[in-house]
Amino acid sequence: MVAPLLEVRDLSIGFGSAPAVVRDVSFEVMPGETLALVGESGSGKTITCRAVLQILPATAKIHSGAITFSSAGTSCELLSQSRRQMRQIRGNRISMIFQEPMRSLSPLHRLGDQVSEVLRLHRDMPKSQAKKLVLETFERVGFPEPARVWKSYPFEMSGGMRQRAMIAMAMVAKPELLIADEPTTALDVTTQAQVLGLIKDLQKETGMAVILVTHDLGVVANMAEQVVVMNKGRVVERGPAPAVLGAPAHGYTKKLFAAAPMIPEVAAPARAEGRNDLILDLRDVSKTYTMRAGGWSKPVTITACHEVNLSLERGKTLAVVGESGSGKTTCARIALGAELPDDGGEVLFRHDPDAEVVKIHDMSLRERVCFQRQAQMVFQDPYSSLSPRMRIGQTLTEPMEIHGLGTKAERREKAAEMLRWVGLDPSMLARYPHAFSGGQRQRLSIARALTLDPVLLVCDEPTSALDVSVQEQILCLLENIRDRMGLSYLFISHDLAVVARIADEVAVMRQGVVVEQAPPDTLFYNPRHPYTRALIAAQPEPDVNRPIDLKLVAIGAGKPSTWPEAFRFEGVAAPALTEVEPGHKVRCHG
């Protein structure tokens, strides 16, 4: 029998004197095998993965356990390795994709530099060759313009793009073991398919083993040979994927799988129409950025979105889906006035059916304060949007403090209440943001947005880091509030199942333009645009028996220039959006 590449035995990790957050975790990874680590948000997946690489937070303590890494006939105990030996392993033989790509990339260094560093370090490669390889990898993780990425800084990238850069960084040196901590949360399904395909290719090519942390059971079904299910710091079930997925044995596993959302088989009845009471209206919104890189040469401009028209009715949910980097976040930020649209674009907001229209792109100070109370945002990258030196208690009470709501005690109470709403314990109020798991931070972000009881909520992938059961809980919460208080959502997501569930209207974006827009039932059952079709096809399903063809899906719709005649375009010179049937608009020629 082959020795396992990595063997984790009875690992327990705790913070300070508190009870351990990871308890007696054991699993093993065979060479070339993919092990999926699934489980509840905050159950210790990330900590376990970090323990393998010995990059735990300073305050974490390994109480017990052993991690053995064996390859090429030698095996070593990672927990007792010297730092020097550890450095030889990190990045070289084991590499890791971190969960929060924005914070995990250095803001001052270009992506090319950061990614190619691994090669220079461990592969002893000349610069030019390293660059070539990196550009190639960039291309493989789905960047249309690798050269631009090479000289971009992380803050110039969209969430998904950063994540892909992170993936490229981990894979470019072709390690023996790849630890991927939720590598595709910020990716649209086609890009996700492409990335997963790449991982599989590499596995075939080099015999790489993978620990894949994910909450997307569809991905698990498509990728994993082994599954480890974690809950509250413990492994509750582990075994071959077909077995676990097919017939979950443990109570938690059962619950988890039951919660997996799916695009409903039959069209859900459309909700009641309430016409022409727009709370938010984006008209002809475009945004171009100038790249910071290249001080001496001519400035490079990037069109993040182009003539986007979106309107959100009061009490409704407008979902935006689309390719990573297609300008969704940009639109959302413009909608909230965090960014100004290029000249000509207009953003109109009416907080109350009878109220005056406020021009978001041109607000007076008073209007701004007023608007900021009514419209809130859940950021795509929750970690960066939480002040690192503020305790969560302060962060959550801050919006109320700003607007002078309630007494101190009331504010605290409300903060605690909010935490409970999103499924966290109020005792965490005194913690700092870094002491949470990815999914917990995402929930904090949601909690913060809700404290002010806004009328408009812009959610930029609010549940991407949540396991399905918690996601379910959050979605219910959002729906609840919407129905109770008439909240309106601009909802950005990659998860079509979630969109199908919550949206009243869906806009599909690709390369800065909206290519198709319709209510979900129309869209999901009668997609017209080739890109929309590709998206739906790429949605993985949590069924081992129905794997999607990653290759095929990854090609997706391909480049706009390869699309059928009716939809084809180059650059931003897209055809106009035409209404093909009532409420269903598609960008096509005539």
Partner: protein, 342 residues
Amino acid sequence: MMFIRYAIYRFITMLLTLWVVSILIFVIINLPPGDYLSNQIAELRATGQAEGVAKAEFLRTEYALDRPIWEQYLIWVGMAPGPQGWYGMIQGNFGWSFEFDRPVSEVVGDALWLTVLVNLAAVLFVYMVALPLGVIAAAKSETWVDYTAAFVGYLGLATPNFLLALMLFYYGNKYFDLPIGGLMAPEFEGAPMSWEKVKSILVHLIVPTFVIGTSGAAAMMQRLRANMLDELSKPYVETARAKGLGPSKLLAKYPLRMAFNPFVADIGNLLPAMVSGSVLVSVVLGLQTIGPSLLTALKSQDQFLAGFVLMFVALLTLIGTMISDLLLVLLDPRIRYGARGG
């Protein structure tokens, strides 16, 4: 492109600022009552040297000191004709030093490069000592390395420069045969460069560099340490560690660059602060920098000399600030100089 445009814009601003500063400097050096020549005359009278009085009176008209102050300013800068025609700084004439009875350019000439030398040595010392020590102190915070570094640094800070210099000179001379004062053995002054001269300069530089440098080094070290400690636990450092970067390279490439921001902002101040900070040190240590000339010039109100030296320091400051602004843009790509909310 954008960078070049910014640089040009910054340069023009600098010139404007320099002009404003020149006015202020002129006002300040003329602030104390009297002027060089009246003081000179008083001194001559006090010591019974009636002889020189006539000469001093002569100089007063010669250098337009009898005109209203604004006219003196214009003449000094070269924006108005003086008694001898257009003869100001714009025309490249820095005026006359009454104290040394020579043209300012001659008085200052040699001292200028020695000043730069001493201060460069001090800056180098600061960086060579403070940078690694600060980083190490941060990396090994709260260990004996850290504490020793802090102790030594603060020892230097808490000892008055002059006392420190005196001690170093005294014991240095006693036990290591180091020279006392000066920047080179006098026989090398004015002599062409030679290996011996360089050696002499180096030996003479030891104490001044140390004295001027210690306070700067301690300051930089401690602040760098604090800034580094802030950065060390950020996730991007972990990423770098996960790549398998060695500790020194890791520290230097990622957190140090982040922590460096406040220091880049301070580059503008580095040289001028050392120049003016080293004035007193130079005076007490007898270094032939412009420091002593500046102090005597100021005390005796030798206005053209003082004015020139001050303008020189101001120019250094302005250039330094400009460089620091430009570097800041290069260092941190996130920085935009636009107004908020744009």
